[in-house]
């Protein structure tokens, strides 16, 4: 499982970089990327377009899209009038609905796993919103990136792979943020962020394929040694799955098929045919 994170601001990124031990990826030029093992983080800049670009850039640098969890993490305003409700500065919310103010479009991450964290609607606006401007958004969180992030992410990933986590930084009083304060807000919530990442793992592990890692490795060997076409690879994968599902057995030893690389098309066809006979379900 590879976790990708986008944030808008460097002060939001700093505690995450420290927490996951990330190092700057010097091969990334368009967007600052930080990376270590199975975690990558992009700093997009402010606004939904920049967030969409950074998300796309981040996604373009990893393979195996079904093994990815993608998070947008950052600070957000809240529509509550200060000191009049339950929400406080520093509260973290998992977003179940993202509304894009400019278009009226709405987006919904799949909410599948229990994380014991509060949820909220979030509206993405194009300009900082102030309480004094009037409340033209649904009660809840307000940010400037999530709708762009989600739309870019949803072009590649399933809705259960995409999540948006926001920490309340203000009650829509336009002001300059103190960078240290922003970092502090995120830093306070790292345990919750870890919990959401664990939940994403639970979801990822639910996708069950009869083929295990050893089978996949063997399929890769066969692919190289038999020089399979895309179509042949698909058919052979089907044959292998059918064998395992119907027999309930592990694959037989296929190492004889991976000793040498075929040199002619006919040789490849012959080996595929022999493989098919070996894996035929009676």
């Amino acid at each position: 499982m590879h976790f990708l994170i986008t944030v808008a601001l460097h002060p939001e990124a700093r505690p995450l970089i420290a927490h996951f031990g990330l190092k700057q990826d010097t091969t990334a030029h368009a967007v600052p990327i930080f990376h270590r093992d199975n975690v990558s983080l992009a700093v997009s800049g402010v606004g939904r377009l920049k967030s969409a670009i950074a998300t796309t850039y981040l996604l373009s640098r990893v393979s195996a899209p079904d093994k990815i969890g993608l998070l947008n993490i950052g600070i957000a305003g809240h529509t509550q009038i200060p000191n009049t409700g339950p929400v406080e500065i520093g509260d973290l919310f998992l977003v179940h609905k993202i509304a894009e103010q400019a278009t009226g479009h709405t987006f919904y991450p799949d909410m599948l796993v229990q994380v014991h964290l509060p949820e909220s609607v979030l509206t993405t606006v194009d300009r900082p919103l102030d309480q004094s401007d009037g409340m033209e958004v649904e009660a809840g969180l307000v940010d400037m990136e999530a709708a762009g992030f989600y739309q870019a992410a949803a072009a590649f990933l399933a809705p259960h792979q995409i999540h948006c986590i926001k920490v309340v930084s203000d009650f829509l009083e336009v002001q300059r943020f103190d960078k240290a304060m922003v970092s502090h807000l995120i830093e306070q919530r790292l345990t919750d962020i870890d919990r959401i990442i664990a939940a994403q793992n639970t979801v990822a592990e639910a996708s069950s394929d009869i083929l295990n890692e050893a089978d996949r490795s063997m399929m890769n060997h066969l692919n190289r040694c038999l020089r399979l076409t895309v179509s042949q690879h698909k058919m052979l994968t089907d044959t292998v799955r059918t064998y395992k599902l119907h027999t309930g057995k592990a694959l037989p030893d296929l190492s004889a098929f991976t000793q040498t690389v075929v040199t002619t098309r006919q040789e490849g066809k012959d080996r595929i045919e022999r493989l098919g006979q070996l894996l035929m379900v009676k």
Binding site: H96, D110, M111, V113, H160, R195, A198, Q200, L211, H246
Partner: protein
């Protein structure tokens, strides 16, 4: 980083996504009150959540959500060629709900719908009006309008939440030229047991060998409980249909399905059964292909099928063998004219 996945799944229907227009319907309000702990998320259009691209059906099945919506058009569809219709000319079905609480490995809904979330349409008066109009305009006035209301779902299984069966049985009682079929695997017959039986409603139970239920019909009641529900419905005077459909060519299928027929008619008086349907596994190719892309864990999908007229099914010879076997066994219990076979 410790990223082991050990979180628990949210319960089904932890979230109710409700179209703003749906809040106005009492049917929706009664559903909402049944989920006091659910998070209610107002939405503009059910498609904005149901029709999202790249949803994973089987992952969503682990924690289904309920979407309450108002259907805007198409309250009746002409009957499908994949279904038996007992020579009833005015054959239609409707979609009161999308998706099902069960999760059968062979179910075409996995490939038909983009999402596993359940959509319930709450504007029942509009369905009734469309049905009244179709009754008036039906092509063969010597036959009733025949409407299957539980095709792309299992309404009875969800009756305690969305009492569609009750509403439609009461509607049918007022419509002399209407015949409805309610197909189910559920044993929730008790939810409608207080209603007076009418010959304008067929209660149809799908029956499978217990071994098939255990392996391929996840979440459904055991065979014996289904038979008990069937027996109770018959005793209460309902017209009952038994559906041996789909028959799966599992290992030892002859013994399994032969025993199923014996067990069924050892428990149920065949003379009390309105009719019986038989059909082998079949699925529209596009649905089948979509399922195969998403799940690689069931031998029902990874099998030696053939493609015939855009339908994935067993070879003609195997179909013939299965239907001949089932027909012969059933004919020993029930007259041939009351057996409908999909071939």
């Amino acid at each position: 980083m410790n990223d082991s996945g050990n979180s628990s799944w949210l319960s089904n229907f932890s979230h109710l996504y409700v179209e703003r227009a749906a809040f106005d319907y009492s049917f929706a309000q009664s559903i909402i009150t049944r989920f006091p702990r659910a998070r209610i998320v107002p939405i503009d259009d059910y498609k904005s959540i149901f029709a999202r691209p790249r949803q994973h059906f089987q992952i969503q099945k682990r924690s289904m959500k309920l979407i309450l919506a108002v259907k805007k058009d198409r309250f009746l569809y002409p009957g499908s060629g994949h279904s038996q219709h007992f020579n009833l000319d005015n054959f239609y079905y409707n979609t009161l709900m999308f998706n099902c609480v069960y999760n059968c490995d062979y179910c075409y809904l996995q490939g038909m719908y983009p999402s596993a979330n359940v959509v319930a349409f709450v504007n029942t008066p509009d369905y009734f009006e469309a049905t009244r109009q179709a009754i008036a305009e039906r092509s063969n006035i010597h036959q009733p309008l025949y409407v299957c209301i539980s095709y792309d779902t299992d309404l009875l299984a969800f009756e305690s939440i969305t009492p569609y069966c009750r509403a439609w049985i009461e509607f049918a009682q007022e419509q002399p030229d209407l015949l409805i079929e309610i197909r189910t695997k559920s044993t929730a017959y008790r939810a409608i047991r207080d209603l007076k039986a009418t010959d304008r409603v067929i209660l149809a139970w799908t029956l499978s060998p217990q071994a098939v239920i255990d392996r391929y019909e996840k979440g459904t009641p055991p065979l014996r409980q289904r038979l008990q529900a069937v027996q109770t419905a018959i005793e209460d005077g309902w017209a009952v249909r038994l559906c041996f459909d789909p028959v799966l060519a599992v290992k030892g299928w002859q013994a399994a399905y032969g025993h199923l027929i014996e067990e069924t008619f050892g428990y149920i008086d065949p003379a009390a059964v309105r009719d019986v349907t038989v059909g082998v596994f079949r699925m529209t190719k596009s649905y089948f292909d979509r399922i195969k892309k998403q799940r690689q864990d069931t031998d029902v999908i990874y099998n030696d099928y053939e493609l015939e007229d855009k339908t994935i099914t067993y070879s003609a010879a195997q179909r013939q063998e299965i239907t001949a076997f089932m027909s012969e066994r059933l004919r020993s219990c029930i007259p041939e004219e009351r057996i409908a076979v999909w071939t």
